[in-house]
């Protein structure tokens, strides 16, 4: 297996899927000349040409609609929204059209669109370039929501998202693009809606997504030294949620911490906690605990933003509370 960055894994997924199916195209601001903000489509304009790699103006609403219309016509658009904070401009198309039109067509049209974006803190970008909006999409029937945490996962999940006939909101994390990991040479897919146990353990289950998985793994490593064995479960897809894997883990450990970068209120972390309560009630040794960002905008700069979002220390503290 080769070791590649998260960004390179995305590029591999694009290259494979665009070669396999010429109807797959990427559209967004600076996806061509720049090769995307974090270079995940670097070089692909030269390789695939402007029909498959389309630089577009700063027009998120138009690009969202462009995805809807072209998908109905048999194309497979990947609409890149540079920052999830900008997806607000495209919300009408995603929520009112992409998510609704298959049902409204009585099953006659397909909307194979990937709305691909990146969110989260970690790059000192303050309150309008650092947010975590995944919870909004989880609450919209008709959408699939994916949040990968590793190069291996992002490649396999992105390929599946491109091939899936449902609209998929695919949320990467800006702090992950330069993380490295092993990716097989041979082609592979990861099914949507299937969680992954990132670390096996016996005392506490930590359910975490995206960037938080990295912190959870670091915390688990340190906690191991003090004799606490953590199992880290990454749902990878927030809807549909792989309840079975989460429940199986908590039924084994009896304790559960859900970690999310978004504020916990009204969010997916509550859904995960409810799944545990419904499926593992008799086995729980402690109430389910949740850890999310402070209910605040993300403050500016390297110090404060790290204090607002969860990190390995706050995860360790939360696990230790569960063990008391």
């Amino acid at each position: 297996m080769a070791t590649v960055t998260f960004g390179e894994a995305i590029r591999q997924a694009y290259r494979e899927e665009m070669t396999r199916d010429r109807n797959v195209f990427l559209i967004g601001e600076d996806v061509g000349r720049w090769g995307s903000l974090y270079r995940s489509s670097k070089g692909l304009l030269e390789e695939f040409g402007p029909a498959q790699i389309k630089d577009a103006p700063i027009s998120e609403a138009a690009l969202g609609g462009c995805g809807v219309g072209s998908a109905i016509m048999g194309m497979r658009p990947i609409v890149e929204i540079m920052y999830i904070d900008f997806i607000t401009i495209a919300m009408d198309q995603i929520v009112n059209h992409a998510a609704k039109w298959r049902q409204l067509s009585n099953g006659k049209v397909k909307l194979p669109i990937v709305f691909k974006t990146q969110g989260g803190a970690g790059r000192r970008n303050s309150s309008q370039h650092s947010q975590s909006f995944e919870n909004w999409f989880v609450n919209v029937p008709g959408l699939i929501v994916v949040m990968p945490s590793t190069p291996y996962d992002v490649k396999g999940l992105l390929k599946s998202a491109i091939r899936d006939d449902n609209p998929v909101v695919f949320i990467e994390h800006k702090a992950l693009y330069f993380e490295k990991g092993e990716v097989p040479e041979n082609e592979y897919l990861i099914p949507l809606g299937v969680a992954d146990v990132k670390r096996a353990g016996t005392d506490v289950t930590i359910v975490a997504t995206s960037w938080m998985v990295l912190f959870a793994l670091k915390a688990a490593e340190k906690l191991q030294a003090s004799g606490i064995s953590c199992e880290v479960v990454d749902p990878r897809t927030l809807w549909p949620l792989d309840k079975d894997t989460i429940a199986a883990s908590v039924n084994k450990t009896g304790r559960c911490l859900v970690v999310t970068e978004a504020p916990v209120e009204g969010g997916w972390s509550g859904e995960a906690a409810a799944v545990v309560q419904e499926n593992c009630f008799g086995r729980l040794k402690k109430p389910v605990k949740r850890l999310g960002s402070i209910r605040s905008g993300i403050p500016y700069g390297p110090v404060l933003e790290r204090q607002v979002v969860p990190n390995e220390n706050s995860i360790m503290e939360a696990v230790q509370e569960l063990m008391r």
Binding site: M75, Q93, H97
Partner: protein, 323 residues
């Protein structure tokens, strides 16, 4: 334009007028449940533009879609029973009066004002990229021309030279907001200049003009000269919805002043001048009314969708198998 074509266009408009009246009556009987937006007075736009197109051309309509749909070629049965929420509706009765899809006839509409313009760019892009001989006609109102989506879509369509005909059906009111007060420019077509497009305003109540302009522009779009934005000036004779508080935004006199400009009245007068027999026109009207009576009787017998049917297509089931 020869008399036969005008007679056909008049007949098409008459069908829409009577259909609109039928829908209104059903709305008043609470057999159409959702918001229902009457089309009376605007028929020359639907017939002129939508009625020109081939089946594989695309129409994107609005929250006031029923006459656009019929003019595009959707069956009266599928449109009426959609509004009545029956299984035989083009969206299986799940959409109602403001949002439905008839993919077989390439007709799409939705109830978020301005949102169809961005979608038109997607259809246009696919048509262009796949080099198909199809056009996309996107209809919207004066209100939609004030949305951000209007600007984004016009700009995108213009820079990529997409095969789209944007038709602003300026009926002079966005709900209760008069265009003369809420649109900053004198004519909405003036906005076309900002996208490097021609400024085209037409009399939207003259069916010969709407058809003539539609024909010319669609032909030019098929030759790769698109997109175009055309403003069809018309007037919403009825309220935004049935029973809206009309007195809060316009006078009776204003409405009455538009009646002489009614597109059916004008077409009929011209036909009579040209020697068309009144009895022939009345006969056509009678035939339409008989047809709609039968349609209504049939529609009332259609089944409602079950819950299972209505939620069957929210998702295409995921599979764990690799495809």
């Amino acid at each position: 334009m020869n008399g036969n074509l005008l007679e056909k266009l008049y007949g098409d408009m008459l069908l829409l007028r009577r259909f609109d009246e039928l829908c209104l009556a059903l709305k008043l009987k609470d057999l159409i449940y959702s918001g229902y937006h009457p089309y009376e007075g605007q028929e020359a736009v639907a017939v002129g533009f939508c009625g020109l197109l081939k089946q594989d051309d695309v129409v994107l309509s609005t929250h006031r879609p029923h006459c656009h749909a019929v003019a595009k070629g959707c069956s009266l049965e599928s449109v009426l029973t959609e509004m009545m929420g029956r299984q035989t509706g083009c969206s299986g009765g799940l959409g109602g009066g403001m949002q439905y899809l008839d993919p077989g006839n390439n007709f799409f509409c939705g109830s978020i004002v301005g949102s169809n313009l961005p979608i038109a760019t997607g259809f246009g892009l696919a048509i262009k990229q796949q080099q198909m001989d199809r056009v996309c006609v996107c209809l919207f109102g004066d209100g939609a021309s004030n949305t951000g989506a209007f600007h984004e879509a016009l700009n995108l369509a213009a820079i990529w030279k997409l095969p789209i005909l944007f038709v602003c059906e300026n009926n002079q009111y966005a709900e209760a907001m008069p265009a003369k007060e809420f649109v900053a420019c004198e004519r909405i077509s003036m906005r076309a200049r900002g996208y490097g497009l021609e400024e085209i305003s037409i009399d939207g109540n003259d069916v010969e003009e709407t058809r003539r302009i539609a024909t010319a522009l669609v032909e030019r779009i098929r030759k790769g000269e698109g997109p175009f934005l055309v403003e069809a000036l018309t007037y919403r004779i009825r309220g935004h919805y049935v029973g809206d508080p009309e007195a809060t935004y316009r006078t009776r006199e204003e409405v009455e002043s538009w009646r002489p400009k009614d597109p059916l009245k004008r077409a009929r007068e011209k036909l009579l001048q040209q020697g068309c027999a009144e009895t022939a026109l009345d006969g056509a009207d009678h035939a339409i009314q008989e047809r709609l009576k039968t349609l209504q009787e049939w529609a009332l017998k259609q089944e409602f969708p079950t819950l299972e049917q209505s939620i069957d297509h929210v998702y295409i089931p995921l599979t764990r198998e690799m495809r």
